[in-house]
Amino acid sequence: MKKFQNITTRLAQVVIILVLVTFGITVLVRLLPGDPASTYFPYATPEELKVLRREYGTDKNLFAYYIDWVAKVFRGDFGYYYSVNGGKALSVTAMWKQAMPVSLWLMFYTVVFSLLCAIPIAMITAFREGSRVDRITSNLLFGFSAIPNFAIGLGLVFVFAVQFGLLNPVGYHPWRDGAWLHVKSMILPVLSLSVGQIAAYTRLLRADLIATLKEDFVAMASSKGLSNRWILWRHVFRPSSLTLLTTAALNMGALIGGAVIIEVVFALNGLGMFLQASIAQRQYLAVQSTVALVAAAFILFNVCADILYGVLDPRVRAHRGR
């Protein structure tokens, strides 16, 4: 019963946050100087503007406008892209279909690559805490974590694309263009996003591993004669991976739409770039719906992180054995 109540409060919180985020962004969008009507038809007369605003629904007050939008979203209509010829040419969902795969692949590769690099590095440095390898690696990673990802991106473009002419620096290629092209277009962006994350993950995991290595059950396992490798993976890694996984989940949420600078540097038309263009072009509906989508994804990953927490560490499973 208690567990059920827990889930309901959690769900209510998620709904409230979503409502507040979408309402907040509606307020922000309406505060943007210049509305779609005057942006797209700069030479329209006041009467014409009035008609246009009625058509766009921007003549309504904030609350009516917001409720309109919510009602449409519930019917699966996320709005359309205003265009100069006045038509409702492109729906926002159609634009998402183009942008979403880019952002999702970018996020997926970045998180997988970062974890694949960070976990072994953290294991080695934690196991040999204080050794020369540990000190050099830790300092190097500390240095890398300070370099902004766009600086890494620009540096990589310079080295690989310009000096060696190896990888194409800009543009996205989907899988159907061929696997090699797809991978090639993603290597540099993923690398530039990963460096900082590898440093952060390694730091977190290393600290947790060192704390766990001092626990009694590790000494116990060691005295039973289990091999170091077995102890590290089975006894130490699992309880130490909690913070890492939560952070990774949060980063996954943040990377959808949050990687806008890397998307711009490498001309990947993902959600971040779509949002940036929409803000610049006063595409009210596109901004509202996309921010709602990004926020929903972020909250979803948050909740997943919480659930993972319970699965991985029985000690934090809510209301068990108490």
């Binding site: 370099i147 949050g258 600078i261």
Partner: protein, 284 residues
């Protein structure tokens, strides 16, 4: 207790930050070419050219002079915003932790709501709102700087607030707070006298980290075309010079290196303070 020697990183970080502060105050008096006027005989020369230690960009602007000039605004913007963020975020965080109850829920909800929108997107929207008061987007440089500071501070408040709240929560339940309450101290007095001093080290550590992050965010906004645009910050230099990365790579790499070194130093300070706090707490 024996005085422990400070690690070499501390001196390096202090040295770089000291240099930055020095350059941002007296940098304008150095015998260097004007950063706004190009040297048309030396367009786009590389590093270590005669007369131009760090070379020039495509319009002949001396890069050493430009990067020194950029120090002032980059540091001013990020530090002012960081201080604003610490003051407001810290206050809200401590208030939430102390009051618990509905006020805590409201403040925490505000933090969570603004944190669920990616930082850079929120900053972009806020800059667009504040920056162009008229539809032509004609704003003075000073207005743009004010806009950036305000935006960065707003973005920072929930991040710092949440950390301040978490840190304050571990102190609000202690006996000395209860004792102060029993003595009839006013809530604001308790927060100021008993909770704030304990939260300050954490806030300071996070504040250095935040100032570094803000320099990066400012650079990012500049790349997106929403920063200071006339090349007077490191981010703005990066944004304009990156178009010619293939031809004049040094003009992009110089401001990038300046940003990276500054962030590295600030991170180091944050880490250093954190280590001191950890050491102090473990002795308790």
């Amino acid at each position: 207790m024996a005085v422990k020697r400070k690690p070499i990183g501390f001196y390096l970080a202090s040295g770089w930050m000291g240099l930055c502060v020095l350059m941002s105050t007296v940098g304008g008096f150095l015998p260097l070419p004007n950063w706004k006027v190009g040297d048309y005989d030396n367009l786009g020369v590389g590093l270590f050219s005669p007369g131009h230690l760090l070379g020039t960009d495509t319009s002949g602007i001396d890069q050493l002079s430009a990067v020194i000039n950029g120090t002032r605004l980059s540091l001013t913007i990020s530090f002012t915003a960081a201080i604003l963020g610490i003051l407001i975020g810290g206050f809200l965080g401590i208030l939430a932790a102390y009051s618990r109850g509905w006020l805590d829920s409201v403040i925490l909800m505000y933090f969570n709501v603004s944190l669920s929108v990616p930082t850079i997107i929120l900053a972009l929207a806020l800059v667009s709102i504040f920056a162009s008061s008229d539809s032509m987007g004609q704003t003075s440089a000073l207005e743009r700087i004010g806009t950036l500071i305000l935006t960065l501070a707003i973005v920072l408040i929930p991040i710092l607030g949440r950390i301040a709240r978490a840190s304050a929560l571990s102190w609000t339940g202690r006996d000395f707070v209860l004792a102060a309450k029993a003595m009839g101290m006013k809530p604001l007095q308790i927060m100021w006298n008993h909770i704030l001093p304990n939260v300050v080290p954490t806030l300071l550590s996070i504040g250095f980290l935040a100032a570094g992050v803000l320099i990066v965010v400012e650079g990012g906004l500049a790349i997106l075309g929403a920063g200071v645009l006339d090349g007077s910050t490191w981010g703005a230099m990066l944004a304009t010079n990156r178009q010619l990365l293939t031809i004049y790579p040094h003009t992009t790499l110089i401001p990038a290196a300046a940003i990276a070194m500054t962030v590295l130093s600030l991170n180091y300070f944050a880490d250093y303070i954190r280590n001191i706090i950890d050491g102090r707490e473990s002795r308790l």
